[in-house]
């Protein structure tokens, strides 16, 4: 017999070893997320995928599905809180969507639209963050980093390298690269690496491709992030890789 959980009252099948996120995605149920990507070990840090399992607050991307779970996902309370968590990410860094070359392809921006985020709500931190333009083909703009570690994981798990890491504590967290100089140009990162393409925001960008797809024709200009996500995040990534 198939094992099942319920999400917002709907019965969803799952297999042993699946997380709630995996079971939901397989069943066509979208749970908002940023640090999660189905191809990598879950991280559980952004907390956008917060759900309630039998009343208890859990992260869908890391919590194992188990028989008898009654999950709340698409509720007003949870979406309100997810919106506030997204606003936290916006005020922590420096995100100026209209002037960012990732606009329209940015998951942070797309999830904010999906959650109907209309302002930043919290006071801005105006954090002083630098850029690293040293690499010939790849740019890091630390202003837009949300510490999801997808680049860290992609470099380790897909590229067989160890280019990125997150360092620092608390609000001083920051992305570092594996070079004595501390500069991206002195790492073994190549533009073809998965790590160079995985960033859900505009923190890691491929140079000279920013506007090869015009604004208005980008992934999230026409589709909501839930549609794109459910259609397969990996195919979305490939598309982005082809079109910049």
């Amino acid at each position: 017999m198939t094992k099942t959980i319920t999400i917002d009252g709907n019965t969803i099948p799952f297999e042993d070893g699946q997380t709630i996120m995996e079971a939901a995605t397989a069943a066509g149920v979208y749970i908002p997320h940023l640090c999660h990507n189905p191809e990598y070990t879950p991280h559980g840090s952004c907390k956008l995928c917060t759900i309630r399992v039998n009343g208890r607050v859990c992260s869908a991307c890391t919590f194992p599905a188990a028989e008898g779970q009654d999950v709340l996902n698409n509720t007003k309370d949870l979406n309100d809180d997810r919106q506030k968590i997204t606003q936290m990410l916006f005020v922590e860094g420096n995100h100026f969507c209209p002037s960012c070359e990732k606009t329209g392809n940015c998951q942070l921006q797309a999830v904010a639209y999906h959650l109907n985020m209309l302002d930043n709500h919290f006071p801005h931190f105006y954090a002083h963050r630098n850029m690293d333009a040293s690499h010939h083909d790849v740019l890091i703009d630390h202003n837009r980093c949300i510490f999801c570690t997808l680049c860290v994981r992609a470099s380790q798990q897909k590229d067989g390298k160890d280019v990125f890491a997150i360092s620092g504590r608390g609000i001083n967290k920051h992305l570092i690269v594996n070079a004595q100089s501390g500069q991206l140009k002195d790492t073994d990162l190549e533009a073809s690496d998965q790590a160079a393409h995985i960033c859900p925001t505009g923190a890691i960008l491929i140079k000279r491709t920013g506007y090869s797809v015009p604004i208005g024709e980008r992934i999230y200009d026409h589709k909501q992030i839930n549609e794109v996500s459910l259609a397969g995040e990996s195919s979305a990534l490939l598309k982005e890789k082809d079109h910049g």
Binding site: S45, T62, L89, E92, D162, F164, R169, I171, I176
Partner: protein, 592 residues
Amino acid sequence: MQQFIQNLAAKHQYQATHLLEILREIQARYHHISADAIELLAPLLKIQRTQIISVVEFYSFFTDSPRGQYELLISDSITDHMLGKKNLMEYIVGKLKVSVGGVRGDGLVSLDNTSCSGMCDQGPAGLVNGYALTRLDEPRIDAIAELIDQQIPLADWPAEFFQVDDNIQKLGLLLNKQIVHGEGLKTALARGLKATLAEIDQSGLRGRGGAGFKTAMKWQFCSEEAETERYVVCNADEGEPGTFKDRVLLNSYAHQVFEGMTLCAAIIGSKKGFLYLRGEYLHLVDKLQSVLDERRQFGLLGNNILDRLDFDIEIRLGAGAYICGEESALIESLEGKAGIPRNRPPYPVSQGYLGKPTVVNNVETFYAAAAIAVNGGDWFASVGTQKSKGSKILSICGDCARPGIYEYPFGTSMQEILTDCGAEDVLGLQIGGPSGTFISNQEFDRKLAFEDLATGGSFIVFNNSRSILDIAHNFTHFFAHESCGFCTPCRVGTSLLRQQLDKIVDGHGSAGDVVALEELCQLVKTHSHCGLGQTAANPVLTTLERYPELYQSQLKLISYEPGFDLDAALETARRMANRDDAGAHLAQTDVE
């Protein structure tokens, strides 16, 4: 330096899990961890430089730029403030001619704040090159300034500067009845290990760190794991401000703590244990090592313990990170990484240190377990309440005549404790430290118990001269400083909380700001990844619940006040335009 690091790595057998220990020694020798040191160390330990950098940048006691030859840190706990820390710090700055956070020009001395150093009963306290300083006052600072100027080695400083007293004020069930060394193990082996676990179950012993998980159940789960390489970890990362009972247990009752760990090892089938000691308790290390040596000589530790068991204990030091008191962060730290709490499940009992089944318990839990092995479960369970069996060891400090260590049966009222410690004219109490609860003087009939007022040991008394908002302010800043930064709600939320509370306390708040503060509190509490974030809003929530009028009275009678100083924000523009006339200034609000 190359030779030093080469020898150091060899001494630690090139183990990356020893990274914190190795970095502690580099910091002690060079007063920072230079980029060159990292480049030398990474290949020796076969890890990436990024792992070392992330550890250096995570722990407060590591720095990437040079500190003074005498690294002076002053404890920033609320209890140090109540003992005059603020004025003392100003005095130190003047006397030593060094700024807070700075290094003196001659490179001899550096000064900074540090989170509660666990000397709340004998503050204001500090650390010099990691060693605890107690009872700091102006004459003592004068003497220290002299010693530093003459570059006298710490070993030749007056011993009383480093004297740490136990201050045991009230003995109870456990402290009254020390077990004879080895008695717990011998009794357990004679009774049978299964039967001994049943006694611990019968005792109702729950984790003494504050969370209160049933000890017997934890040990049982771990012993049932398929993987047979298992670990015992004693959590002595006592970082909750106001807590110092583990300091005393380890100073004067370490045999019984280690006996409890060995008992756990026998029951779960472990060969290796760790005492994870907070870096602030560096002064205890030599003494603890000699206790371990004694136990090895007595045949109570090492190979073939009582002809039945192989088990040894290694002491590992932290490096200034409150989060490492969280058990999975502690395990990460033991593995030589930044202390970031893991996702759970899996729990440490199934996948802990190096992914192996691991029991992590508080110092007091092991201490109690050893006594229960000797005296039986009923002896322990006869004391306390239905849900909280036995006794609790408290560290009491703040506004009372007799700060120190007190042991009480669970169920004791706050009033009784306050009378014993000589507290008068009390405003309220902080039970369980900043992550716990503030109670007002209308609630002193409440009881010490998991089901009423739970605490890992912290018990801070405030008299009527203290300000509630100052307390909430100190605690809220503490959490923002100690957040590991892993999850969004805590990383950003604790900083936003600090900012929002400061705005109100500093008198820039207006209508709606208290509501916004409370909303933020709920968000951080509900969605944070671990206990730190889930409790970081407690100082505000528990005081706001009791004294809403206090917060409201801070607000201005206008509907909106900018959250920052408008006029100060124009300073750069004024400077650039070379203007300072009236037109180049802005009032904070139209009303004013």
